[in-house]
């Protein structure tokens, strides 16, 4: 087998094992829940009926030993059955599906903003190492990393909406507008596709504050990571040679320094993703953003366990898949990884 293919295959096998492990963790957590699911599901009257409880347990496999129940759980998961939300009694998967596009839109825009700003600031700081600009950026990065996202959301909404009124107060779209015809579920993309400029403007305005709040936390990490990655390559002889033969500074930075720093910068992408998803859980509710973060918050507040477990499972799966993709990309940009 070619080393490249073997590299991907090995990562894929690890991914599958990891996914199994994740389902095992969520299974253990949901199986350990105190309380009686049969009585909860049957309601107060049928719940008193011993016969009905026994039948329910038997039908749902709850009378079986734990390993067998895990297999049932896995089987259900494969069929997309994550259980029913205790609050609404609708399937968790269905609820997740309605909330996912909003979070995807928010997460992607935050990572784009944080990535662009973070890499630029990080390179700038590295090039001005130990000078005033570097120190200022250090304070700003650490400031962003230290700020509780939920607090920043509250303050920015108070200032941007309540006090100066530049931004809308929450949600994804002006209530007077109709959502653009659904293609991707991302309002900005759908509005672009259907050339609905009013909806596009409104969607962007609604996206601005939550994006900035989520990016604020991540941009510090990316900037500091980029700074380190750049500092590690910038003293190489070939960089000096590039400068010496008179190449323009921008050519050297983009073509030589960033190219060399790219593999290690890719790794931060996984962290950025985790940061944005974590932030979404804490922030979406404040912006009444109808995403899985707000859903997780509501589920946590009401202790709706199947929903919380569903969100946890979903986010973990997305997260490991993103890391898998990052790993593979890492192998693509850095050939040494494929062989090691």
């Amino acid at each position: 087998m070619k080393p490249g293919i073997r590299f991907v295959a090995r990562r894929l096998a690890a991914l599958v094992l990891l996914l199994l492990g994740i389902t095992f963790v969520t299974f253990v957590l949901t199986a350990l829940v105190p309380g009686d699911p049969a009585r909860a599901a049957l309601g107060p009257i049928q719940g008193e009926n011993e016969e009905a409880v026994r039948a329910w347990n038997e039908r749902n496999g709850l009378d079986k030993p734990l390993p067998y129940r895990y297999l049932i759980y896995l089987g259900n998961l494969i069929q997309g059955d994550l259980g029913n939300s205790q609050a609404s009694n609708t399937p968790v998967l269905e609820e997740l599906a309605t909330y996912i596009p909003a979070t995807v839109e928010l997460a992607v825009s935050s990572i784009l903003v944080a990535g662009l700003a973070g890499v630029t600031l990080g390179v700038f700081a590295a090039l001005h190492r130990d000078r005033l600009a570097d120190q200022v950026l250090r304070v700003v990065s650490l400031g962003g990393m230290s700020m509780p996202a939920f607090w920043l959301a509250l303050i920015s909404l108070y200032l941007g909406f309540f006090l100066i009124g530049w931004f809308p107060g929450g949600g994804r779209l002006d209530p007077a507008l109709n959502p653009p015809s659904q293609v991707t579920g991302l309002y900005t993309v759908d509005a672009l596709l259907s050339a609905d400029w009013a909806a596009l403007g409104s969607a962007l305005a609604h996206l601005a504050l939550p994006t900035l709040v989520l990016a604020a936390h991540t941009v510090g990490y990316i900037a500091r990571y980029t700074r380190t990655a750049v500092l590690e390559v910038i003293h190489n002889d070939y960089i000096r040679a590039a400068y010496a033969k008179g190449l323009h500074a921008r050519t050297v930075v983009v073509g030589y320094v960033l190219r060399a720093a790219l593999p290690s910068m890719l790794q931060i992408l996984g962290f950025a993703f985790a940061g944005v998803l974590t932030g979404a859980v804490l922030v979406e509710k404040i912006f009444t953003w109808p995403g899985i973060g707000g859903y997780a918050y509501t589920s946590a507040i009401t202790l709706d366990l199947p929903s919380i477990a569903g969100v946890g499972l979903f986010i973990a799966i997305v997260y490991v898949v993103v890391n898998f993709v990052v790993d593979v990309l890492y192998g693509v940009v850095d050939p040494r990884i494929r062989i090691a």
Partner: protein, 279 residues
């Protein structure tokens, strides 16, 4: 600590000094809360929603409680719990990591796979699931966060023990007849204390953030306890009364920022790649 005083203090930057001062002030606030607080953090004898004024510097909340007193008493909860969280994680993770690095073989393999698995969840999401499963409450919140934090220590300590175990001076010591445990205690342990201290300091800010995050989600401290995260959570419900959320959030921010600055300075000292050490 010798290495710290020798290498950090002479070239300590004003920012690090400010950060240490801020931490010291917060520790004092936590210690002296009953003396410093103008009132009882739970007493509801103010007028609800009074804006900040001479009588109530930080205003009053929806039940007429003095926000300043609640912020001050909040330090008594957040700081010790963050410390407890970090100490527990470092102890559990450090011990397991040292065992894995020392015993190697299947123990090592299993433990590292468990770590990989826990790394697969974004921190607060797993903590949220665990805390919700255990039931809301500050003790369960700390337990949930220990569960997600210890693998970081385990992985780093394991790496250190493995690399130190192969160091020549350890081999020499073994050849001179020292038992493996002696070597571990005398030669390896002193060399991993420094890095663990740095890691723990770096972690303190994050611990405060995570704890307040869980409380914000309603899974940590329960009413009527004065806790910064849950205070901000109440602030989001009474949006126009900005002082409810602003001040407890500011408390979290200053504490975390100060810890992060100190941790950052320490990391520079211990990491030669990014360090600013001259020479």
């Amino acid at each position: 600590m010798n290495i710290l005083s020798r290498r950090v203090l002479p070239r300590s930057k004003p920012l690090t000094v400010i950060a240490v001062t801020v931490i010291a002030i917060w520790l004092l606030v936590a210690l002296l809360a009953p003396v410093l607080a103008p009132g009882d953090p739970l007493s509801q004898d103010g007028t609800p929603f009074t804006a900040p004024s001479g009588a109530h510097w930080f205003g009053t909340d929806e039940l007429g409680r003095d926000v300043l007193s609640r912020v001050i008493y909040g330090a008594r909860l957040s700081l010790p719990l963050a410390l407890l969280l970090v100490v527990l994680s470092a102890l559990i993770g450090g011990t397991l990591g040292a065992l894995a690095g020392f015993l190697r073989g299947p123990v090592d393999g299993v433990l590292m796979r468990i770590c990989d698995l826990l790394f697969a969840f974004p921190g607060i999401v797993l903590a949220m699931v665990v805390a919700a499963t255990l039931g809301p409450g500050i003790t369960n919140a700390v337990l949930a966060l220990v569960l997600i934090s210890w693998p970081w220590y385990a992985r780093i300590v394991r790496g250190l023990v493995v690399s130190l175990g192969e160091a020549e001076y350890v081999t020499a010591r073994r050849l001179l007849g020292a038992s493996t445990w002696r070597a571990l205690l005398d030669d390896v342990l002193p060399n991993i204390v420094g890095p663990i201290l740095v890691l723990a300091t770096l972690d303190l800010g994050g611990a405060v953030l995570l704890l307040s995050g869980l409380s914000f989600l309603g899974l940590g401290a329960q009413a009527p306890v004065a806790e910064w995260g849950s205070m901000v959570s109440h602030g989001t419900e009474y949006f126009q009364h900005w002082w409810l959320g602003l001040f407890p959030g500011l408390a979290i921010f200053t504490v975390v920022l100060a810890f992060n600055f100190v941790g950052d300075a320490l990391r520079d000292v211990f990491d030669p790649h990014t360090g600013r050490a001259h020479g």
